[in-house]
Every structure is written in C-alpha cells, then in structure tokens.
Subunit: 342 residues, 2 copies
DNA sequence: GACGCAATCCGAAACGTTTCGGATTTATGG
DNA sequence: CCATAAATCCGAAACGTTTCGGATTGCGTC
C-alpha cells in the first residue's frame, strides 16, 4: 500500500505537488505529472478513497435501495435496471451500490439512516409512487437524488420520466377514432406514478370523446404475462358487454392477452383491437407477435444514462435547479388494430 | 453532521470515551453508554465511515464483480444471487457492492485495480472456472475472498460448493443399475468448475461399469430451456444410436428435454429416462413435471449465508486457514426413471 | 489511613488525503 | 541587468475517527 508520502519521498517532491499531479491540477508541470504517473505505476500506488472522502466530504458512491421481495418475472427488469445504472455510473467514475432490504423491512428508516450516514453522494429512486414519501425525506435532508418517474405533476426534484399520460391518451384517442367505445385498460398497480398518469391520460381521452369511464374496464395488477391472460379472460366473461379494444401497460400483458383471446377464439384485430406500451423488454418484441402488435415505445434502456448524468450533475452542483426530462414516446402502428366491430 | 467532538462537548466527556461508548467497549460505564446513545440520537450523530476506514484500514464493504453481458434467462439466477448475498452481508453489518463491467471488458484488470484500491475488505467470486485466474490474483495479493465453487480439487482458498462430482456420479450409477448404457449428459459449458466436476463424476461411473465414454452423448451448452430442447432433438436424430437416458444439468434443460421428447413422441420413462439436478430455481419445480422428475437437489439459496459467513470470518481473521464447505446433495426419486428399453 | 485493584476516564498521535496561502523559480520585455 | 508576471512548487492545517499508554477515581481490606 504505497501512499502519497512514499511517492513524494521517492520523487523528491512535496506531498502537495504529488497529490495535485495525480488529480491533474493546472499548476503542476507536464514533466512532473509524467514522472508522478510513472512512479505511481511503479510503486503500485492507488489513492486511498477513505482519506480522500474524509477531506472532500464526497464518497464517490451512489446508492439504490430496493425491497427484497422476489416477485418472479416482474423482477427481470430490475436486472436490466441495475446493470444499466451500474455501467453508466461506472463510466462517470462513480461506484453504484445496490442495497437490497430483507423482505418486509420498512424502507423509510433505511433511507433515513443511509442519508444521515453521509456515506453516499446520491440516491436513485425507482418504482416511484404518487407523493412518494422518499422524495419528501431526501428533499428535506438535502441529499442529491434522481427519480425514475415523477412523484407528482409539479415535482421540483430531479427526474427522468417518459410521458405516461401521453402513452395512454394517444392509444385511447386512436382507438376512439376507429369507433371503439368499450376500451379496456390493463394497467399497473394503483399508486405507482406511471400507472396513475396512464389512467389519467386514458380518462382524458374518453372524456374528450364524450365516452363515460367504466371502472369494470380498468385492471390494475402487476404487469405479468399471467395477469394479462387472466384479466383478459375475465373482461370477456360477459360476451355482450365485452370490450372491443385493449390497451396493455406493457408487452407481457399483451402477450397474455393474445393467448387468452386466442383461446376464446377472438380474432385480432377483427373482433378485438390490442395495443400496448413497449419498454423493449428482455427480448420480447411486439413486431414478432401475430398479428404484429401496435405499440408506443420509449426504450427503458435509454433512461440509465440520463439518470446517471442528472445525478452526477446534481452531486457536483448541489445548488443547481432540478433537472427534469420527459422522454418522447414513439407510436408504431402495426396490424393489431382495426375498426370497432358492429 | 454531528461529529464525535460535538458529542463530547455536549456531554462533557472526552472524544475517546464517546468513541468507545459508541463502539460498545468494555471500559466505559453502563451509565455513560446510555447517555452517549441518547445524545447521539438527539444530535442525529452517525459515524463517519470514511474516517473510521482511514484509521482501521477496513471499509466494511465486500464486492462482487460481474461481466455485463445479459444473456437472457440464464441471468435470472444472478438476481437471486445478488439479492441473497446482499441480504446476508447486510445482516452481518457489511455493505455488499455489485460492480457490473461493461460488456466485453477484460475482467482481470478490474479485479486488479479493485484489489489494490484497498476500498474493499473482501471479494465474492462466482461462475468459477477450473484454475480460475482470479483466484490466483487475489491469493497473490493477499485479499480475502470466498468462491462459490472450487477452482481446483486441491484448492486452498475459502469456498462453498456442492458436490458436483457426486451429482453426476450418482445419477449415472443409478441409471446404469437400471440397465441403461447409452446415457447422455446435458452439461453446462466447458471450463466452468461445476461442469467439469460433473463430467468427471459421469465418466467415473461409466468406467466403473465398464461402459466406454461416447463423446456424442455429451452436450456442453448454456443451461437454458431452449438449449435443452435443441440438444435433445439432436441426440435423438439417429433413432438407432439414440440415448435411453438423459442426465440434465439443471431443471431448465430438463424442461426443454421433456418438450422435445414429447414432440418426438417418446414416452418417459418407458422409452427414455430423464433425471436432473435441481438448484431450486425461480419457481420451476421438478415435482410439477409430468411425469414427476427424479432429481438431485442442493438449494442454491442455502449458499448465500454460508458464503457471507465464510468471507466475514476471513476478513476478521485473515490468517485463519481457508474454510471449505462442500454441501450435501439429496436424491429424490420420482417417476421419470425406469429400466432401459430393449 | 495506606494499599491495591478494578473501573472509568483522558490526551495525543496517527491514518492518507486535499487545500489554503504563500514561497520560489523561470521566462519576458525593456 | 532589473522588474514583472507566470509557472511551479511547498508547509501546515484540517477532515473525524480509533487506539496506545497512562491518569484518575472509588472501594474494600488490612
């Protein structure tokens, strides 16, 4: 474990200058920077992060805290999330830390103590809920954080989000234009920001078209293939009041819906139109559906670099105004939509 | 950010004594410990880990480094791994850190620099290969680490492993006893420690029975459902020299094998016997197969606590001899095995 | 009252880095 | 050769904790 002092002795320089050389400061000559770099390699020097943290007050680490319940396939995306974020923070010279709480732990004390410990320069929040208490806590404590999603429409914190309102609004609008009036929404669970926004967009479109909202056409469940299947089966129980169109919250739900519709011998799009939002999830592609699925898309994978960038900036400049980004959504019409049946 | 000095002033004690109180040392009275605890809560004191690390030389963090390639379903178990380990280390007061390398990165320099940085008290190694170079590196650098699996039969490092030799040996032995001689092994990719051991166990059993090893009956691929299907289809291409029994490396392979056998109209176990090793993976249970699958089992999930325990001990006592644990394997005979067909 | 022992306490140094303020050297132009 | 500015360099303090060695107190015993 070579230290700066070792290097300085070895080179006949002051510790100060060696430190500045290593951190590439302006007032050290090219030549000495070179010499220092070489000596560092030779002696196997690596900066002691604890010592640096102690004086700078920054640890170079950001953390993501997650409940530990493994709820099956829904957790696939978590893996993408953490590997995406880990990579992006790594690029920016930060360590990304994952803290998985034991199942059943109350998260707030965990956030509280992580924030007071001062060991972390920033937090990443995912699975955001409306009026998420974590946002309130971290804001109050003055710790930098970035949110995947918005905790409320007028949020004044850093976030990266997709336009979930728009997603559902446009899908519904399109289907209404095709003459559909009984449009079911297979949504995520209540309380999550994304599902609430989607519900609002959906309701807005209905309202604009003068179609009244029917709670029986709203499903709020974990967005898995199995739930898509089951929800669809139930929606079509009553053949008379069945929906003529389905808006699916993600492509897993859509896959389940396709299976159920097939089993019940409904044709897509002649009998039922199906559309979905597509995060581009683990290799399931809407274009490979038969008939090919009409989707809105906004790749999940794009968000990691934005989230990392936003958080790193917030850490470097804590007084800057919040950075907020709502990503574009792209609509791709394929073969799963058609005019409403008589 | 309250510090020890703040506390000491507030209490009229020395910094020394406050520190010792907080760390629950012996030579501070119950009464003052109580007072200190209270004041700490009141002032919102949390120990500064950087400062502590600086003097103790320990960071309280262990790290797992992983390549970033997301190879689909095979990565499901990674999620179990990291959440399992994260939880177990958390219990023991350690932070578990996950470092995901960008795809295509050469791992050795990453291990090298992580080890020299001194920021981590220990390493967890998974996906072990025979004569794994990471083991050599960390051993040489004298950094504590624990391996999931063994890098070689006479390894002198800390590890937790299951008896993979035994797994394949016993399965093969049982099938041989039923009269099978053409027994295929659907194994994991070459090079990984577990698959090499299994291959050896398989060969040993054959040898003991005087059956010669046929390379055409060995498949070495990623253990996914798809590969199980394809490998089985190919193994049965030649109806005359087809195998009469299949040993599957995990339950996904077995599932694929069942599908393929069903499609080719082979009956289990009348025409083909199938056995598998079962790590107890993401809710796929061998008992739910039809016919119910004969398996060896050794729950994956048991290993996290062992690995964490072993590593924490190694960190606290670096000179202790390596701790090595080979877990029991349980054999459960169900309905997928029978005598060899004529 | 003196002694010894245990129970508590304390001052100071150390860990390895960054940074502030100033000092020294080197080049530049007259 | 001098004055000035720019380019390099340096000493010392500070960050918050742990720990070493020793100091103080209280208490029971003779």
């Amino acid at each position: 474990m070579a230290t700066l002092k070792d290097l300085s002795k070895h080179l006949g320089l002051s510790v100060t200058q060696v430190s500045r050389a290593i951190n590439d400061h302006a007032d050290v000559s090219q030549k000495t920077k070179e010499r220092v770099r070489e000596a560092a390699k030779e002696l196997g020097y690596a900066v002691n992060r604890s010592a640096r943290s102690l004086v700078t007050g920054k640890s170079g680490m950001v953390i993501l805290i997650r409940p530990g319940a493994l709820s099956g396939p829904a957790d696939m995306s978590v893996l993408e999330t953490i590997s995406g974020l880990s990579g992006e923070f790594h690029k920016r010279g930060m360590q990304f830390l994952l803290n998985i709480m034991p199942p059943g732990t109350d998260p707030m004390p965990v956030y509280q103590s992580a924030a007071t410990s001062g060991s972390f320069d920033g937090f990443v929040l995912i699975d955001t809920r409306r009026d998420d208490p974590r946002v309130a806590l971290l804001t109050e404590m003055g710790v930098p954080f970035v949110v995947h999603g918005r905790s409320d429409p007028a949020a004044d914190h850093n976030y990266y989000d997709i336009d979930n309102h728009q997603v559902a609004y446009t899908h519904a609008k399109n289907l209404l234009a095709l003459g559909h009036t009984r449009i079911a929404l297979l949504n995520g669970p209540r309380g999550y920001a994304y599902s609430e926004y989607r519900l609002q967009g959906y309701q807005k479109a209905l309202e604009e078209a003068g179609v009244s909202f029917d709670p029986a056409l709203l499903v709020s469940e974990q967005m898995t293939e199995g739930n898509g299947m089951i929800a669809t089966a139930r929606l079509f129980e009553d053949k008379v009041h069945r929906p003529t169109a389905l808006i699916c919250g993600n492509i897993l739900l859509a896959k389940g819906a396709y299976t159920a519709l097939g089993a019940m011998e409904y044709r897509i799009p002649e009998d039922v139109s199906v559309v979905s939002h597509d995060d581009v999830l683990h290799n399931i592609r809407g274009s490979a559906f038969y008939p090919a699925l009409t989707v809105s898309r906004s790749p999940f994978a794009n968000s990691w670099s934005h989230l990392a960038e936003i958080l790193c900036n917030a850490i470097q400049n804590p007084t800057a105004p919040p950075h907020q980004h709502v990503a574009e959504v792209e609509f791709i019409e394929r073969a799963s939509t058609g005019p409403a049946p008589k």
